[in-house]
Amino acid sequence: MSSWLDIVLIAKAKRGDRDAFGKLYISYLPGIYRYIFFRVGQRQEDAEDLSQTTLIRAWEAIGNYSIRKASFRAWLYTIAHNVVIDHYRERNRHATAQLTATIADEMSGGASPEEELVTNDVTEEVRMALEKVSNEHKQVVILRHMEGLSYTEIAQITGKREDAMRALHHRALLALKQVLQHT
């Protein structure tokens, strides 16, 4: 459910108030960035580019946003989701190979903000395991546990049913566990 402040800012943004839209987007930016970051193989540059694309698309579409259809948060993640899909369509030819290489680079490289968070082995193993499960498994655990979204919101973002998302989440945890067992 959108907060009071969000409702006010959304109403202003729908009438073309860039400042209001900016406040809204910046408040959601960490989550949007993080969602994209983990969806694009943990590549900072791509995550930043696509966060910016999400900003532009959200601004173009804000006039059509309706709180009765989805929370603002779910609406923004839906746009980010579509931006990621478009990104992979464009880069489909070398996505998998590059993804694996990038993770290896990041793990051996300098101290990026993402690497600094690695404080324990399980967290690091899970971070690596995320890149070995399917995209839909990765998506559901990111949205559920990193972004704290409800199953209803996840269903809105993916365009699937809520019970299907619960089942998918269960299978995603199972898939992660299997990857971790074989690490």
């Binding site: 459910m1 959108s2 907060s3 009071w4 402040l5 409702i7 006010v8 959304i10 109403a11 729908k14 009438r15 073309g16 860039r18 400042d19 839209f21 900016g22 987007y25 910046i26 930016l29 960490p30 960035y33 993080r34 970051f37 983990f38 900072q44 995550a47 930043e48 966060s51 900003l55 532009i56 601004w59 173009e60 006039g63 309706s66 709180i67 009765r68 259809k69 903000p113 993402e114 968070l117 324990n120 082995d121 399980v122 967290t123 193993e125 899970v126 971070r127 559920r144 546990h145 990193m146 972004e147 704290g148 979204l149 409800s150 945890l173 992660l176 566990k177 971790l180 067992q181 690490t183």
Partner: protein
């Protein structure tokens, strides 16, 4: 693995929650903040020219209504979409908004106009509607609720009382809409459900506003992760 046992679901979830500490660089956030200023203006945004046209239109409406008399206005108040006097009812609403300047009064007026849409939903739901009118009314209801809350934000000195009044008004709408929902066919219930949700969100927002803008939703986030 460096752990002595295979991680269970709880371990994995804890690790995922810890990974939510990933965040964008400060420089990137600053870059995004500055790039918002250069976003293009779109057609949906109301220009000052359109605002001027709206004011002139409202003034013309006031003059017309003054000439035609209060009888027409009173007769129009109970009209619904499709009735000959319905445009008069809408014109009166626009005129009222045009001459109401103070945010507290506008917050209450917007809530009352939302109430008009709720009453119309009630009237239309009993007729042979194809669902399109219900959908339009539901959408307008939501817009009015949002605008009422927006006005509430500006009503700084009297936000407590106005917030309470708006909440009470929206509660009445919710009751009306819930009663309507029980008598319409299943196929036409969705717009009514949407309007009920808009009313509930509006009530939550108005209550938050009257409690000095306490923001909801943040505290639930961590719980939802588990």
């Amino acid at each position: 693995m460096n752990t002595t046992r295979t991680p269970n679901d709880g371990d994995i979830i804890d690790a995922l929650v810890r990974l939510s500490r990933v965040s964008p660089r400060d420089a990137f956030i600053q870059h995004m903040s500055s790039s918002i200023e250069s976003l293009p203006v779109h057609a949906f945004q109301r220009s000052s020219f359109l605002a001027l046209r709206f004011s002139i239109g409202a003034l013309a409406t006031i003059i017309f209504l003054s000439v035609s008399g209060v009888g027409v206005v009173a007769a129009a108040s109970g009209s619904k979409p499709g009735d000959p006097l319905y445009p008069v009812k809408k014109a009166v609403e626009h005129a009222q908004l045009a001459i109401t300047n103070s945010p507290p009064a506008r917050a209450i007026l917007q809530a009352k106009i939302a109430g008009n849409r709720a009453s119309e939903i009630q009237n239309v739901a009993g007729s042979q509607d194809d669902g399109v009118t219900l959908d339009t009314l539901s959408h307008e209801y939501e817009e009015r609720v949002s605008q009422s809350i927006e006005e509430l934000e500006k009503a700084t000195p009297s936000r407590d009382t106005v917030g309470h009044d708006v909440t009470e008004e929206l509660k009445k709408h919710e009751q009306t809409l819930k009663a309507v929902k029980t008598i319409v066919p299943l196929a036409h219930q969705e717009p009514i459900t949407n309007a009920i949700e808009a009313s509930q969100k509006g009530q939550e927002a108005a209550e938050a506003a009257s409690n000095n803008g306490q923001i909801h939703g943040q505290s639930d986030k961590k719980n939802e992760r588990r």
